[in-house]
């Protein structure tokens, strides 16, 4: 059997003109179509599960919506006004700010400290790296439930403290200890991730710069402050942005450990949103809280992005 091939192939990678009159599927169009088809599932997923809910949340924030009756009515700015005048708002704002500051400061400082310590060429550092990183891969709920048992008044931590003669606080019920407990549980869960990022950044600091600083008479602290910190500033920026936005989205830990209590002391904005929308069935008010939360995260991220020129070495 003999077949005849028409050798009209275009050079690969070029978008040549149509090969004949009336041919629709030119190579350029074929490339464009296959490109669109590759991104289409992801784009549809984004539209359905990100963009649409985002628009719907803004829409619902201007409406009152009763889930059970299914009645939705336009309410103007009532939900936003309710948030301003809600007696719980000051407590929620306080808990959110303290949680965010506590988490970011402790997480970043501890991650950097651990990274510096584990960057030394000492025996056993791999074991410690694994140890500190392992909570990152543990299920969040399992991690938090375990801590919930440990932090009970008659739980593991107070039992240990009792053995050494210390009367431990009622960790999850105390006015101040509850927030501290939630922050610590969250720090231990995620510090390993930031630690690994800092470790990678530290290993990227050129030794020549450190040696030059040493020759110039700089001590260990001065070398760290004036050479290492500026050199790892891109990582510091990244971890700070990620940790701040993450701290504003912490939900499961609050739900499992304190349910926002005692007396709203750990009721951060995202949990407050959940309470309003899903516990109280008030989707309108809950949506207004969600929009405010979104705006706060957006503004904080933009501020950090704008400030990057001041503290990221290659931006200045």
């Amino acid at each position: 059997m003999t077949t005849t091939h028409k050798t009209t192939r275009e050079p690969a990678g070029t978008a040549g003109p149509p090969t004949g009159p009336g041919r629709f599927w030119t190579l350029r169009r074929q490339d464009a179509a296959s490109g669109w088809l590759f991104v289409l599932p992801q784009a549809l997923g984004f539209l359905a599960f990100v963009l649409y809910p985002l628009i719907a949340v803004v829409y619902y924030s201007f409406h009152t919506s009763n889930v059970l009756s299914g009645v939705t009515k336009y309410a103007g700015t009532k939900n936003y006004s309710q948030l301003v005048h809600d007696p719980a708002t000051p407590s929620v704002a306080r808990a959110t700010v303290l949680f965010c500051i506590g988490l970011v400061v402790i997480n970043i400082a501890l991650a950097m400290l651990l990274a510096v310590l584990l960057n030394q060429r000492l025996r056993g550092t791999t074991v410690f790296r694994t140890l500190f990183f392992s909570p990152v891969v543990v299920s969040l709920v399992a991690w938090t439930i375990t801590w919930n048992f440990l932090l009970q008044n008659n739980g593991g931590i107070n039992s240990i403290l009792h053995v050494v003669g210390i009367d431990g606080p009622n960790w999850l019920r105390g006015d101040n200890s509850a927030l501290v407990s939630v922050v610590i549980v969250q720090v231990f869960k995620n510090v390993g991730l930031n630690m690994v990022l800092f470790l990678a950044a530290l290993q990227g600091v050129p030794r020549s710069l450190l040696e030059a600083a040493e020759i110039d008479g700089a001590g260990a602290w001065r070398r760290f402050r004036s050479v290492v910190l500026p050199m790892i500033s891109p990582t510091t920026l990244l971890t700070t942005i990620v940790t701040i936005s993450g701290s504003l989205q912490v939900f499961a830990q609050i739900q499992i450990l304190t349910e926002g209590g005692p007396n709203n002391r750990t009721n951060v904005l995202v949990y407050f949103f959940y309470q309003q929308a899903f516990d109280n069935h008030d989707f309108g008010y809950g949506s207004a809280v969600a929009v405010v939360l979104f705006a706060i995260i957006l503004v904080l991220t933009l501020i950090q992005w704008r400030l990057r020129k001041k503290w990221v070495f290659y931006e200045s």
């Binding site: 088809l37 109280n280 069935h281």
Partner: protein, 431 residues
């Protein structure tokens, strides 16, 4: 040629992804297409294997005579977040066909139109005996003369006690003996709990499911003082009443002075033998099936206002937004008819007058003695009042929980905390 094949492959993969996405989006898993084949789904908060087996056997029997029903699923949702999960399903346009509803949510569900009127279906169901349902049991689930949920469980609260632990603590008169001597009071129960906590390494009295959060579980205690969370019309706060103040002062002293109850953040499970007494619904008796210790049960003690029994209720409603309302109502009529109600009575005290007899209940509840059934179940249902409920119950529950938090520490000013509760919930009560 290779490039062309690659493009074809990508096209096929993308098309497959889109198809999968479309199918996932369109399917709601309940067969909402035609009505010739119907799948029904009921949300429940029990995952007790023996209870689930009973539900499934009733459903299997029903399907034998109703070939149009392809399946009946009992969809378990943990009680802690039950109502939240249910309303989320409703909001997400994926409501169950039938749902268990807690008594505290009854006014909200009934008045909002979320449930369909069951009266016509139940009345016309052959042999249903609609008038056999006790008015006390159906009251909460009615709007006018129309019934919006079947009260499948009317479960009184009682006080279980661990005979072995009381004996070990040196308690000389058991709750049963005190009851017979008309001395079964909160003061005596508290003394007993204090004794257990002081003389054993276990806790005294546990108010089950309270955990210093679900305050509604305390109703069994404060009603002994004649107090309640709010007035019958739901408009006036009752937390700042003198009776409530006395009841809460008693409770506060019991916790922080006498150590009769585990403190905040302390856990103890009566059914695991970790406390001497517990207040809970009698349906929890299934947890004692393995008889880890010798136990007894008595009605709730009397307070200064006399004995006051409390009932927990659960109803089954047919969701208005469900895809198969009539089929669901028909199944519910079968599920709750006299024969199946008698079967369910093993776990859920029935709402039928004819079945509220020691003879019927004893058959279904071999764990209880006839005297226990009479004292706790029958008398409890006849004389008891249902737990507080309100049209705005979810919101009020959160507000009360937060406002009560300052009370759960030593030296708290009970009066001012209770006044704060009323201040916090006043707007929600009047909404």
């Amino acid at each position: 040629m290779r490039t062309r094949r690659l493009r074809l492959t990508s096209l096929a993969l993308s098309a497959a992804s889109l198809l999968a996405l479309s199918l996932a989006g369109c399917s709601n898993g309940s067969g909402s297409g035609g009505d010739s084949k119907v799948s029904l789904r009921m949300t429940v908060w029990s995952n007790d294997p023996s209870q689930t087996a009973l539900f499934n056997s009733i459903a299997a029997d029903y399907r034998k005579t109703h070939p149009d029903i392809t399946s009946i699923a009992f969809d378990y949702i943990p009680i802690d977040n039950y109502t939240t999960a249910l309303t989320t399903q409703i909001a997400g346009s994926n409501p169950p066909d039938m749902a268990w509803v807690l008594e505290r949510d009854a006014p909200d569900f009934v008045s909002s139109g979320a449930l369909t009127d069951l009266t016509p279906t139940l009345k016309k169901a052959a042999g249903y005996q609609y008038d056999d349902l006790t008015p006390a049991a159906t009251k909460l689930w009615k709007q006018g003369a129309d019934l919006y949920a079947y009260p499948f469980s009317t479960s009184p609260f009682g006080m279980f006690y661990n005979k072995d632990l009381l004996k070990k603590a040196g308690v000389t008169q058991t709750p049963d003996e005190l009851l017979a001597a008309h001395q079964w009071t909160w003061q005596n129960a508290e003394k007993m709990a204090t004794q257990v906590a002081a003389h054993t390494d276990k806790q005294g009295l546990v108010v089950r499911d309270w955990d210093y959060k679900t305050w509604i579980q305390l109703a069994g205690m404060w009603r002994g003082w004649g107090a309640d969370a709010w007035s019958a019309d739901g408009k006036t706060c009752g937390f700042d009443s003198p009776q409530m103040q006395q009841a809460m002062t008693f409770l506060h002293d019991a916790i922080f002075t006498d150590k009769a109850l585990p403190g905040p953040g302390e856990t103890a499970d009566f059914f695991a033998g970790e406390s001497g007494l517990t207040i809970t619904q009698i349906s929890r008796a299934t947890l004692l099936a393995k008889h880890p210790f010798d136990w007894g049960i008595v009605p709730l003690p009397a307070g200064p206002a006399g004995a006051s029994q409390v009932i927990g209720q659960a109803g089954i409603g047919v969701m208005t937004k469900g895809s198969h309302k009539q089929q669901a109502a028909d199944f519910l009529a079968y599920f709750s008819d006299a024969a199946n109600s008698a079967k369910l009575a093993r776990y859920f005290p029935p709402a039928r007058t004819s079945q509220l007899t020691t003879a019927t209940l004893a058959k279904a509840n071999p764990m209880f003695t006839p005297q226990q059934l009479q004292d706790v179940v029958i008398d409890g249902i006849k004389t008891g009042a249902v737990l507080p409920s309100h049209k705005n119950s979810a919101k009020i529950a959160n507000l009360v929980q937060n406002a009560l938090d300052p009370m759960w520490k030593s030296g708290a000013d009970v009066g001012s905390v209770l006044a704060g509760v009323c201040k916090a919930i006043a707007p929600a009560l009047s909404e």
